[in-house]
Amino acid sequence: MRREGSPWTGLWAVFFKEMADHLTGLRMRILEGLILLSALAAVYTGTQTLRQTVGEDPYLYLKLLTTAQDPLPSFVGFLSFFVPLAAIALAFDAVNGEYARGTLSRILSQPIYRDALLFGKFLAGLGTLAVLLLALFLLVVGLGLFTLGVPPGGEEMARAFLFLLATLAYAGVWLALGLLFSVLFRQPATAALAAIGVWLFFAVFFPILTDLAASALLLQADPFDPESQLRQANLALWISRLSPNTLYAETLTAVLNPAVRSLGPILITQLEGAVLGTPLPLGQSLLLVWPQLTGLFALFILLFTLAYVAFQRQEVRA
């Protein structure tokens, strides 16, 4: 049966309300504080290490983002740790919270479709994270200017911007997961726990599993046939790419390190004529991570679609 009227009616009303809720909410304050503190710590160590090499490196700011010094991880390391948590924190009670407060049937009795509610909530989460990331990024660049005393170059900025976009895509995946769980589980606490469980799985257990799988695969390869070894190594790589964390990490590697020319094993023959260590132009790096970015995007679309379908089938009363 065809429905009449646009599914987007009311989308912006939902978006602005949710965005205002996020930006003024206590939850967001806590997240901001956490991210800010860790980012400052990371940038501090970064600048300490980099001071010595100023002037030698054309991609100083990218180094600033990626330099780690024990025991502190790099700024990027911090972000890839916190972004999923922040996204889950913004989404885990999006729909079940409306049930719990008894507001859902009242909101849906206004002339809007459920589409607008779900999509508005998703966009608001993404918008909030975008604001947060942009603010953080500007802070880091500002601090860098202050301590390093050199302005960032144009290509450097473009790469940093691409890094932000990739991070946002990565955040979108976790946001969609949080939203899906907020539809599937009636208790916000259950949804939060389930989402964090998935995150833990991919952050901690998945790498262990893929390592195990990789060594098992290599054992199967014929030790005297390099081609079969390469095949097995590639297979292991593909398995590890089933995780959004791998996709994101690979994207960051290529975007933030212009010297990276490949994201998998390469044969020595493929390097013929290449000047090792020379940076790739931005377009080439982008081409390199295109499949990873697409993968992240596809994952997000899949999760959001699942959430959408589940929400459409749900009864409005609690």
């Binding site: 049966m1 009227g5 009311g10 049937s105 002339p111």
Partner: protein, 307 residues
């Protein structure tokens, strides 16, 4: 004109039948009561009328529109007050209505004027800047009605509007509902507190296990089920039971030590008084509207007996 019309409307949840074969017509400008005990299918019916739940079979028309095909048009003209209505506790009353006005797509100036109007009307203007989490149940309920009015609806659907209110607040709320009717808004209200809402309803439909069992005005139903639409209480001398029973139009007399309860098909107060005075003394006389609870209990006892 029928504002709400359903034909064979049915909703099943798996093997549970929530509403079955509902044929209903609600006319313009009336207050219609959808009454019945908990779990009899009232809320399900309402959700189908708003296009919030898809009927298993049958069809519904609200203001001539199909709620499944054109839900936005229906919801733009029909106000809905859910049972257990909830608001965003961290927002003020005003902010909550502001959000609704945005969802309605009202322009800024118009929205502000309407919000002020409905908040004043519901007596909430003084507390507009208070967070809703601090509101009492009665205030929330009035805020819910304010939200319904914000839409300038042609039809207002109120689900269990007096549930959880103390008797005084419930009475006030029923007065507000009468106000809607005076304004020309068609009202469909549901309740399991039959006696509480029977007075504001022009017509009622009694639900029993998903089926509409009885339909009509309270007097018609009392007439049909109890045999008398009028209930008269008489206090007089003893031994008048037979004499009262002989009067024309009396359906039933119950006596208990000088107190008589007479069910009749018309207002027999003067005749009863005459009989009482002729044979002794009359101490008191009162006309009561028959209680729907009694109608309901009596009807389903009869049905159960017949089955």
């Amino acid at each position: 004109m029928a504002v709400i019309e359903t034909r064979g409307l049915t909703k099943r949840y798996g093997r549970v039948v929530a509403v079955e074969g509902l044929n209903l017509e609600v006319h313009e400008g009336e207050v219609f009561g959808l009454l019945g005990p908990n779990g009899s299918g009232k809320t399900t019916t309402i959700l189908m009328l708003l296009g919030l739940t898809e009927p298993t079979s049958g069809e519904a028309r609200v203001l001539g529109l199909d709620p499944m095909r054109e839900p936005l048009k229906v919801k733009a003209k029909v106000g809905y007050l859910p049972d257990q209505v909830g608001f965003y506790g961290e927002l003020t009353a005003w902010e909550n209505l502001r959000y609704t006005s945005r969802l309605l797509g009202l322009p800024e100036a118009e929205a502000k004027a309407r919000i002020e109007e409905v908040l004043r009307r519901m007596g909430l203007w003084e507390v507009r800047d208070r967070k809703v989490s601090a509101f009492s149940r009665g205030m929330r309920q009035r805020l819910g009605l304010a939200e319904v009015l914000l839409k300038r609806p042609k039809v207002a659907i109120l689900d269990e509007p007096t549930l959880g209110l103390d008797p005084e607040a419930a009475r006030e709320f029923l007065e507000l509902i009468k106000g809607l009717k005076a304004e020309g808004i068609t009202v469909l209200l549901s309740s399991h507190l039959l006696h509480q809402v029977q007075e504001v309803c022009d017509r009622v439909g009694l639900f029993h296990k998903g089926r509409l069992a009885l339909l009509g005005t309270v007097e018609e139903l009392a007439q049909k089920v109890l045999g008398g639409g009028y209930e008269i209480l008489v206090e007089a001398g003893p031994g008048l039971e037979a004499a009262f029973g002989e009067l024309e139009g009396v359906a039933r007399v119950e006596a208990e030590a000088g107190r008589y309860r007479v069910l009749a098909s018309r207002d027999l107060r003067s005749e009863l008084a005459r009989v009482a005075v002729e044979r002794g003394a009359l101490f008191g006389l009162a006309l009561r509207r028959p209680s729907l609870d009694e109608v309901y209990a009596h009807y389903f006892k009869e049905v159960a007996h017949a089955a």
